[in-house]
């Protein structure tokens, strides 16, 4: 900048710092403005209003006998509704927390012990674990088994073995009556 300093009319350091200020201020406003202009483009890729509107599902539990499980759709995702047997509840409650990868007691994952409600998506890479049908493999812990990369979940839907990092997610749901729930 030595040349421009000698060439500048004022030649003082005063003039130079005013120029620097203008340059920095212009760049900063330009950068913020660009960032703000980018946001609508980025946000347009987030879920749209109609996608968000389809956000609850109601399920009738009366037809699900003990030991049975059904799969319902909620927000385009499968949700497992399992009517657990006494044995399944017992094994879920008695599993020592120290054995769990994401330690959560079974009572924090159910509202009524016989009804286990889970998002049926493996927390590894999003496959649907097997174990809903009686003929499906249920893994080493009697819950679910993901065939894609071999994750085993227990009767509370907690990860016990395999690459998945987290337990199957419990969605938000409310009991509308004793035999009906609303998910979402």
């Amino acid at each position: 900048m030595a040349h421009s300093t000698t060439a500048a009319p004022s030649g003082s350091s005063q003039g130079e710092s005013r120029r620097d200020f203008l340059l920095i201020a212009t760049s900063a406003v330009g950068a913020v403005g660009t960032a703000l202009a980018v946001w609508p483009f980025v946000h347009s890729m987030n879920p749209a209003a109609d996608t968000l509107a389809l956000s609850t599902t109601e399920v009738d539990l009366s037809k699900v006998a003990e030991g049975m499980a059904i799969t319902v759709t909620w927000q385009g995702k499968p949700v497992f509704v399992r009517h657990r047997t006494a044995d399944e509840i017992k094994s879920a409650e008695e599993a020592p927390l120290s054995d769990l990868r994401e330690p959560t007691p079974d009572k924090d994952r159910v509202q009524k012990p016989e009804w286990l409600i889970l998002v049926g998506i493996c927390t590894h890479l999003g496959c649907i674990p097997m174990g809903q049908k009686a003929s499906d493999p249920r893994g080493d812990f009697g819950g679910w088994f993901c065939p894609c990369h071999g994750s085993h979940y227990d009767t509370s839907g907690r990860i016990r073995k395999g690459p998945a990092p987290l337990n199957l997610v419990v969605p938000k749901y409310t009991f509308l009556t004793d035999s009906q729930i609303r998910i979402g």
Binding site: G76, P78, G126, C127
Partner: protein, 405 residues
């Protein structure tokens, strides 16, 4: 650059206003090319040829494709059954993707053997890696478009890789999907990006060629051009050689298109996508299998994702990891063996990537993953220091004349 003298008045008139013909002349006719290039040097131009096939078939396919979950599968079947030559265009596009990758993989391993990534060609190498990354993204999104079972579940598994990112992972995945699962918004944007990315690849190829024409082509001897006795003109000598390569390529390529068009595909993708049923065995397309094996070799989600992306990113550092001053594997007696071992290792990874993650496949995959990184991060830096290379020929010309004698 000095402009060549044009005799034609119209060409001269145009060239004085925009130097199209000068550029063309510099990059073809008078572009000095080493005279000892072997057939492994054909695969760059073959890859470009494959890209052109993909763009041409893609444009006409898009005229008959519908990017909606309720119609995508049927619109592809309509292309196969009703659209004139639709079956041919789609099979060219499907198999073209595989052959594009075959050419690029041969091209990459050519570069690995002959040290094509070494100074002054680091940026040339980086541009090639960027092309490769853009190709993988394009191919992945293209595979989703027919909306079969593998399309859907491949998309689900791959987009879920991003959920491994700490804290913001789930927001990124929702953003990528435009919903709470892979669904119509996902299909729509993938179609948009699948159409865009090939043109990005084309721009990168252009830069790749600018870098190539600046540093000039490498060659099997790995020594630089020292004078005109080492080179021949690109045109007509290498245009005709590349054209011959195109002929052989077409023979093999059309063989698959006509006689085994679904060889590289998965039968499951002819079942319409069903978000409620995961196929028992999700396999990506063959060109991703080595990376899929690396992903699954690490028994931790974030770790697996980092290893998988790391496997490609580490290649960007290759010009500095390989410490040997000698470029060509021809004059590196020990490196040569490690190169073939590394190639075999990549094939093992590809084989494991196509197998279920169980039993003996797990330790084999882990050993192969270990060797992949060990080769790049430990073997290459050490080899350059320990290995005693053979004597280099005096020049490209001398190496050719010696071979003749």
């Amino acid at each position: 650059m000095s402009a060549p003298a044009f005799n034609n008045k119209i060409i001269k008139w145009i060239d004085e206003r925009i130097p199209l013909f000068t550029v063309l002349d510099h990059s073809t006719s008078s572009y000095p090319t080493p005279k000892n290039l072997n057939y492994w040097w054909n695969f760059g131009s073959l890859a470009l040829f494959a890209l052109v096939i993909m763009i041409m078939t893609g444009i006409v396919l898009a005229m008959n494709y519908t990017g909606h979950t309720s119609m995508a599968f049927d619109s592809v079947e309509r292309i196969m059954r009703d659209v004139n030559y639709g079956w041919l265009l789609r099979y060219l596009h499907m198999n073209g993707a595989s052959f594009f990758f075959i050419c690029v993989y041969v091209h990459i391993f050519r570069g690995l053997y002959y040290g094509s990534y070494k100074a002054p060609r680091e940026i040339l190498w980086w541009l090639g890696l960027l092309i490769y990354l853009a190709m993988m993204a394009t191919a992945f999104m293209g595979y989703v478009l027919p909306w079969g079972q593998m399309s859907f579940w491949g998309a689900t598994v791959i987009t879920n890789l991003f959920s491994a990112v700490p804290v913001v992972g789930n927001f990124i995945v929702t953003w990528l999907w435009g919903g709470f699962a892979v669904d119509n918004p996902t299909l729509n944007r993938f179609f948009s990006l699948h159409y865009l990315l090939p043109f990005v690849i084309f721009a990168l190829v252009f830069l790749h060629l600018v870098a190539l024409h600046t540093s000039k082509s490498g060659n099997p001897s790995g020594i630089e051009i020292k004078g005109p006795q080492d080179t021949i003109m690109f045109h007509p000598y290498y245009t005709i050689k590349d054209l011959y390569g195109v002929g052989v390529f077409l023979l093999v390529f059309m063989g698959f298109v006509f006689f085994a068009p679904n060889f590289f595909g998965e039968p499951d993708n002819y079942i319409p996508a069903n978000p409620m049923v995961t196929p028992p065995h999700i396999v990506p397309e063959w060109y991703y299998l080595p990376f899929y094996a690396i992903l699954r070799a690490i028994p931790d989600k974030l770790g697996g994702v980092i290893a998988m992306f790391g496997a490609i990113l580490v290649l960007f550092a290759l010009p500095w990891l390989d410490s040997s001053k000698v470029r060509s594997g021809r004059f590196r007696p020990v490196f040569k063996w490690f190169f073939w071992l590394f190639l075999a290792d990549c094939f093992v990874l590809g084989w494991i990537g196509g197998k279920p993650a169980e039993g003996n496949y797990i330790p084999i995959g882990q050993a192969a993953t270990f060797w992949y990184f060990f080769h790049l991060l430990v073997v290459l830096p050490l080899l350059g220091r320990l290995e005693k290379p053979l004597a280099l020929p005096a020049s490209i010309s001398a190496s050719v004349l010696k071979e003749k004698a």
